[in-house]
């Protein structure tokens, strides 16, 4: 099922977080013929989950910056 619900306006109770990350986690990313296959992981993780890994990479860069400034 596509995520039609996300097209609903914010007034219907969907927060920005839900809209942005809900879109990233679209259900099509999980539809595979074989759920036990490792191919599922390699094929689909990039488009859907880059953001959470990128955010953590940014945290690490901030930690580096803090270390440099206050060392």
């Amino acid at each position: 099922m596509r995520w039609e619900k996300l097209k609903k306006p914010k007034s219907e109770g969907y927060s920005d977080f839900y809209i942005i990350f809900g879109k990233m986690l679209d259900e099509k990313d999980f539809k595979t013929k074989d759920e036990t296959s490792i191919n599922q992981l390699s094929k689909n993780w990039l488009p859907a989950y880059t953001w959470v890994l990128a955010a953590n990479a940014v945290y690490i860069l901030i930690f580096l910056l803090i270390m440099k400034i206050f060392e």
């Binding site: 759920e35 859907a48 989950y49 959470v52 890994l53 953590n56 580096l64 803090i66 400034i69 206050f70």
Partner: protein, 561 residues
């Protein structure tokens, strides 16, 4: 403790318990009780985070930063990677099979005996951990507040049992929202007060400079030193494995995200955890660093554990201990002046000042180590490592009335949130994987009642274990060892189930039994530091099962003519 503190403490805890019971009344079937499955992504995320954050997270972590700096945050670097894998692989499979427990999946993938084996391994490991989750904060609070240890255990355990038995998974989810609010609210208030309590002229930026000069802001360590427990590499590699086994195969976490009202809500809850966990741990450590800065301008005890201090002061070593205390006081006065000068200076003299501060810090550390030696001479049995007591000492001696009650409510809320998830998971696994699977044909009402009885039974066992826990030396380490012995094997079984399609149940079960025996032998003969048993067990069961399957395939092949 003033009346207002008692009012805040008792008021917040009672409100959470009563709200949990009231919100989840009228539970009429086992699905509602054990699965819930109506939580939003936000509820799932908070529940997952509250389950992982025990009282020790809030009481010990600031003390860890006080002594060793912020490097501990690296331990969580693998968690977001594990979250991605769990969202993509574990959750879709669990949701599609509509399971109550993670071990249920193993029966559909392998067979009943593999499911029963993993369920039993979970019950042993998590049953012991539930006792420690109650005991660990109880021993700290009883030491600093003079509360009776047994009654503190009973109080924490009973409050959790009341709403977990009454409302099941939904009650756990509902109360964890309030508990997370109390926990993070308490830490935020402590942080603001710490900033406010700094001397005039010392702002947040100056405070960070002071912490940096004391070596407390060394967040990242890229060395490959195996003796160093917290490095970037151990966090990324070891942390991913640990988080994968904890969030992917431990029912106390699996049950949290299976309570999401759809697969999407479960996944988003886990992604929320991936976004927030590292900053949350960073913030808790930062509070510890601010406590360190605070004690650069205010006198601190030689050892923060009041039981240790009392023990040495009532012994023949009191004079020796007092002489070290005097030296610490002199060092504190000279260091305070250096630090004030350093924080406010802008000139080239800075590096000379910094070197002087480093030398003074070194003296401070040596004096505290000497004090630990003296305490050990006075009483071998007392805990000399005082990191668990640093933050609570600051709270009790320097925070205003009312806020002390809030921080104590925070610690007890954290203990309750973790324990409730554990009891809920122990009850679910016992009911679904052992009782219902073997005693079929009963009514829904019967299984609902049985799951409540099992939850109650595990609650009583956890309290009993917590009450007798202080009879064992270094009990927390013992439970970590037990976890490391079982976790790797269980994770290996799940990884085989998900990723290695050709492996059959026969090979997996035989490999799992053999691996468990070898891992226990490895621990017994001390082949490696116990944390590595996780990786060893996981790799061994996978290699052994694949090898057996391959050998079986070779035997089946017809002879070539």
């Amino acid at each position: 403790m003033y009346q207002i503190d008692w009012l805040v403490l008792i008021g917040s805890l009672l409100f959470i318990v009563v709200y949990g019971i009231w919100k989840t009344r009228n539970q009429s079937n086992i699905r509602d009780f054990l699965k819930g499955d109506d939580a939003s992504w936000f509820g799932v995320g908070l529940s997952v985070m509250a389950t992982q954050a025990s009282a020790i997270t809030f009481l010990s972590t600031p003390g860890q930063a006080f002594h060793d700096g912020m490097g501990f945050v690296q331990f969580y670097f693998g968690l977001p990677i594990a979250m991605v894998i769990i969202c993509l692989v574990f959750i879709p499979i669990y949701r599609k099979l509509n399971v109550y427990t993670a071990y249920e999946y193993l029966e559909s993938r392998f067979d009943l005996k593999t499911r029963t084996l993993t369920a039993l391994l979970f019950l042993i490991q998590r049953g012991l951990s539930a006792g420690i989750t109650i005991f660990a904060p109880a021993i700290i609070l009883s030491a600093v507040l003079g509360w009776d240890l047994v009654w503190t255990n009973i109080l924490i355990g009973s409050l959790v049992i009341i709403y977990t038995v009454s409302g099941g998974t939904k009650a756990v989810n509902v109360t964890q929202k309030q508990q997370m609010a109390v926990m993070m609210g308490g830490m935020a208030v402590a942080f603001v007060i710490l900033l406010y309590e700094l001397p005039t002229g010392i702002n947040f930026s100056n405070a960070l400079k002071i912490a940096g000069a004391g070596g407390k802001l060394e967040v990242l360590n890229f060395s490959f030193d195996m003796d160093n427990r917290y490095t970037f590499w151990s966090g990324i590699i070891g942390g991913t494995f640990l988080a994968l086994s904890y969030f992917g195969t431990d029912q106390s976490q699996v049950q949290r995200y299976l309570s999401g009202k759809s697969m999407r809500e479960s996944q988003m809850g886990m992604i929320m955890n991936g976004f927030l966990k590292v900053p949350m741990q960073f913030f808790i450590l930062l509070v510890g660093v601010m406590v360190f800065v605070f004690y650069q301008f205010n006198p601190s005890p030689l050892n923060f554990n009041p039981v240790a201090t009392e023990s040495v002061m009532n012994s023949e070593f009191a004079a020796e201990y007092q002489s070290i205390e005097n030296k610490l006081e002199q060092n504190f006065e000279s260091k305070k002046n250096l630090i004030s000068e350093y924080a406010l200076s802008h000139d080239s003299n800075k590096s000379a000042l910094k070197n002087q501060i480093i030398s003074a810090d070194q003296i401070d550390r040596e004096l505290r180590n000497q004090a630990q030696e003296v305490i050990k001479k006075a009483d071998q049995s007392v805990e000399t490592n005082d990191k668990d007591y640093v933050f609570i000492h600051f709270v009790l001696h320097h925070l205003p009335r009312g806020i002390i009650g809030l921080i104590l409510a925070m610690a007890l809320s954290a203990a309750m949130s973790s324990t409730s998830s554990e009891l809920n998971a122990l009850g679910a696994t016992t009911t679904i994987d052992l009782y219902k699977r073997n005693v079929g044909g009963k009514t829904e009402k019967h299984y609902l009642n049985m799951s409540k009885w099992f939850t109650l039974l595990w609650g009583i066992l956890a309290i009993l274990f917590a009450c007798f826990a202080n009879l064992f030396d270094n009990l927390i380490q013992l439970v970590n060892i037990i976890g490391s012995i079982f976790y790797g094997n269980v994770l290996g079984i799940f990884l085989l189930a998900f990723f290695v399609k050709f492996v059959s149940s026969k090979s997996v079960f035989t490999a799992a039994i053999n691996t468990q025996i070898i891992v226990i032998a490895g621990w017994w003969f001390d082949w490696m530091p116990y944390l590595w048993l996780n990786l060893f067990g996981c790799a061994l069961v996978m290699i052994m099962a694949i090898g057996m399957e391959w050998a079986r395939g070779q035997n089946k092949k017809p002879d070539k003519i």
